[in-house]
């Protein structure tokens, strides 16, 4: 391997000036996916962005230093030297970013934890939603969503909290935003809403959060709720519901993802509609990527690649990224069925204007095209860097081979290129476990984040990987763009060779806990990661 002298210092000085004008460009990591655009990109220079230093990545502190907490499904956010993260035990922790020392926790140890009586998947265990940092009435605040048995039905209805980031003191608590009126599985007379898969978006003097279901028991009506940033009261002027009207009994379109925001709009993805429902509601905004008016919630455009008739439960679970690419702004995300879609921010004649789909395919999909659209667990959000989008994807063999192969593979896409040049690189992520027969939750790779071409991601074996885009560090080799095709047959079969990037660091965290929900947070040269083993780690090169 050729060792190159790092060009980082000069590049950083120039790029830092440009990045400083982009909204949300923080050397901290103040929100899930870093910012309101949900780019998962740390644009500031640090050792984490330097491929010559990344191999030195190592654990510097662990919290708790002895023992373990319950599993972490939320991701850490980092602001002004503090780390904030909620745990499945129903408590939010504030730690010193330099030492891992506990500064405060909420609720206090003497108070009841924030948990729900209805639990059916990891999103309903304690605090699964990542927090967000905001300025509330002149005070730095940490905002998060959680179930709370002290309100409403007493079962653990979902609400938002704003705490003083320095002290943990309550600034406000919202009314109920996710209703839970009973715990009978399958009941259609009870509300089973929850917010565990959606992290708050602080934007437009409001806090937006998506409302989904406790599993599909049964599916609920998907909604986005906005509260006023200053008080936590519901903004009644904003209303979005995924099916029918907000008042009718239609169901579906749960918002299992976090809302993104920019300019006059917010962007969101929605879940399935057909499960347990014998007719298609009208309108049906389920299984869609949507642009909504940020003040009213009105739909500006809707992109629905999977029509009702093909709805086999491919909830659109990954959060969108607003990708301000050189060829124009687009919204990018991977649906649960393994297809990644990019849609122009600007509508075309009032409707969504698709830019591309990978694997390339005409949308909407058709019942006769042989494609299948179901719960195949492509649920992780992607990361944006320059004109590159890094994500999990079913791959070019998605329709011809199995659906689970891509769950252990990272794809990087050139978002502005032609379909033929779309795939930038492909990596079979090491330190992941093959999907066993019958494994219905084959989560193997976590949510990638990126800093200046260095990609960081967790794995189900509890490893943190540092992967270098081939433009900043030589690739280890080339491979066929279709994972099923041997190199000798690649070009003859109509495919091309793409780089396989170098894994510069592969750090096994001590507890071995899975890192498939939580994203790494990159702040001021430090990487913060939480595991299902119940630990938070700080690593640095």
């Amino acid at each position: 391997m050729i060792r190159r002298r790092s060009p980082m210092p000069l590049m950083c000085m120039v790029a830092g000036l440009a990045l400083s004008v982009i909204a949300g460009c923080s050397k901290d990591w103040p929100a899930f996916r870093h910012n309101m655009l949900r780019t998962a990109q740390q644009g500031r220079c640090s050792a984490l962005a330097d491929p010559t230093k990344a191999p030195n990545l190592a654990v510097r502190w662990t919290y708790p230093p002895t023992g373990a907490l319950s599993p972490f499904r939320a991701s850490p956010v980092v602001y002004k030297g503090r780390v904030f993260i909620g745990n499945a035990n129903g408590r939010l922790y504030a730690l010193d970013a330099n030492t891992g020392t506990l500064l405060w926790q909420y609720p206090s140890a003497a108070s009841p934890a924030l948990t729900s009586q209805f639990t059916c998947n990891p999103s309903s265990m304690g605090i699964a939603s990542s927090a967000a940092i905001a300025r509330v009435n002149g005070v730095d605040a940490v905002i998060f969503g959680a179930p709370d048995r002290s309100i409403g039905s007493g079962l653990g209805e979902g609400r938002l909290f704003a705490l003083n980031a320095a002290t943990g003191a309550e600034l406000w608590k919202s009314p109920v935003v996710a209703r839970l009126s009973g715990t009978t599985f399958g009941s259609k007379t009870e509300f089973h809403e929850q917010i565990g898969y959606s992290s708050p978006l602080v934007f437009n003097d409001r806090v937006y959060i998506g409302v989904a279901n406790h599993c599909d028991n049964p599916i609920q009506k998907g909604r986005v709720v906005a509260v006023h940033l200053s008080s936590g009261t519901i903004d009644t002027g904003f209303s979005y519901c995924s099916t029918g009207t907000c008042a009718d009994s239609t169901r579906g379109g749960g918002v299992w993802s976090s809302v993104a925001g920019w300019s006059d709009s917010v962007y969101v993805t929605t879940g399935n509609v057909r499960a347990g429902q014998t007719f298609e509601p009208s309108p049906n905004h389920g299984l869609s990527m949507l642009r909504l008016n940020k003040s009213t919630g009105a739909v500006i455009w809707q992109f629905q690649p999977v029509p009702w008739v093909l709805d086999g439960d491919p909830d659109w679970n990954a959060t969108v990224s607003y990708h301000a690419a050189s060829c124009g702004a687009m919204i990018v995300s991977t649906q649960k069925d393994g297809w990644t879609h990019a849609v122009n921010v600007a509508p075309s004649g009032g409707t969504a204007s698709k830019r591309w789909t990978f694997p390339p395919h005409i949308t909407p999909f058709s019942p006769t095209d042989g494609t299948a659209h179901g719960d195949t667990r492509y649920m992780r959000s992607g990361a944006v860097w320059r004109d590159v989008y890094i994500t999990l994807n079913g791959g070019l063999n998605l329709t011809s081979s199995g659906v689970t192969g891509g769950l252990r593979r990272l794809h990087a896409f050139n978002v502005c290129a032609s379909d033929a040049e779309r795939l930038r690189w492909l990596l079979d992520v090491p330190s992941t476990t093959p999907c066993a027969p019958g494994d219905t939750h084959c989560y193997r790779v976590g949510q990638p984040v990126v800093t200046r071409g260095m990609v960081y991601v967790g794995t189900d074996q509890g490893h943190v990987l540092a992967i270098a885009d081939p433009s900043i560090w030589p690739a280890v080799g080339w491979r066929c763009s279709n994972p099923d095709i041997l190199a000798a047959n690649c070009v003859a079969s109509g495919y091309s060779f793409v780089p396989e990037p170098t894994v510069l660091a592969n750090v096994a965290l001590p507890d071995g806990g899975r890192i498939v929900y939580s994203e790494p947070a990159l702040a001021r040269g430090k990487l913060f990661i939480a595991t299902e083993g119940g630990h938070i780690y700080m690593l640095s090169p």
Binding site: L310, G312, A372, C435, G438
Partner: protein, 135 residues
């Protein structure tokens, strides 16, 4: 078609090695039956030759079946020799009294004339079914 060839071999091994008796189903967890409507992506007749070289006319179809969550299907309504792959979700099959949990990408075969029951759990399932039967 290579993966269909693989499909004929791999499931036979799986069926032979992994079928185990399972606990009785909890019928309380099933919802009212939802009508099944497959999407057909291929359906043609062709001629195959048997071991004696005798030509035999057969119908080959490829269909995707979306099965909602919390469903119990006593008789899966496909006929002929079936090669089945799960394209999404997970389920339990009961074939000749043998219960088997299966997940994404699993393949198996169902001989012609054999009844297969299906139970789904909390998530919907998509089956891709290749069937070979007499016209």
């Amino acid at each position: 078609m290579w993966h269909y060839v693989r499909a004929l071999v791999v499931p036979a091994v799986l069926i032979a090695t992994s079928a185990e008796a399972q606990p009785a189903p909890d019928t309380r967890r099933f919802d009212e039956a939802v009508e099944l409507k497959p999407a057909t992506s291929f359906g043609e007749q062709t001629t195959l030759r048997g071991t004696g070289g005798t030509p035999k006319r057969v119908t080959l179809t490829i269909r995707n079946w979306i099965i909602q969550n919390r469903q119990r299907i006593p008789v899966f309504p496909e006929q002929g020799l079936l090669v089945i792959q799960i394209r999404a979700g997970s389920l339990t099959t009961i074939i000749n009294g043998q219960r088997q949990d299966r997940g994404p990408d699993d393949f198996w075969t169902v001989p012609s004339g054999t009844t297969m029951a299906i139970e789904t759990g909390e998530d919907s399932v998509i089956l891709q079914v290749v069937s070979l039967r007499e016209p």
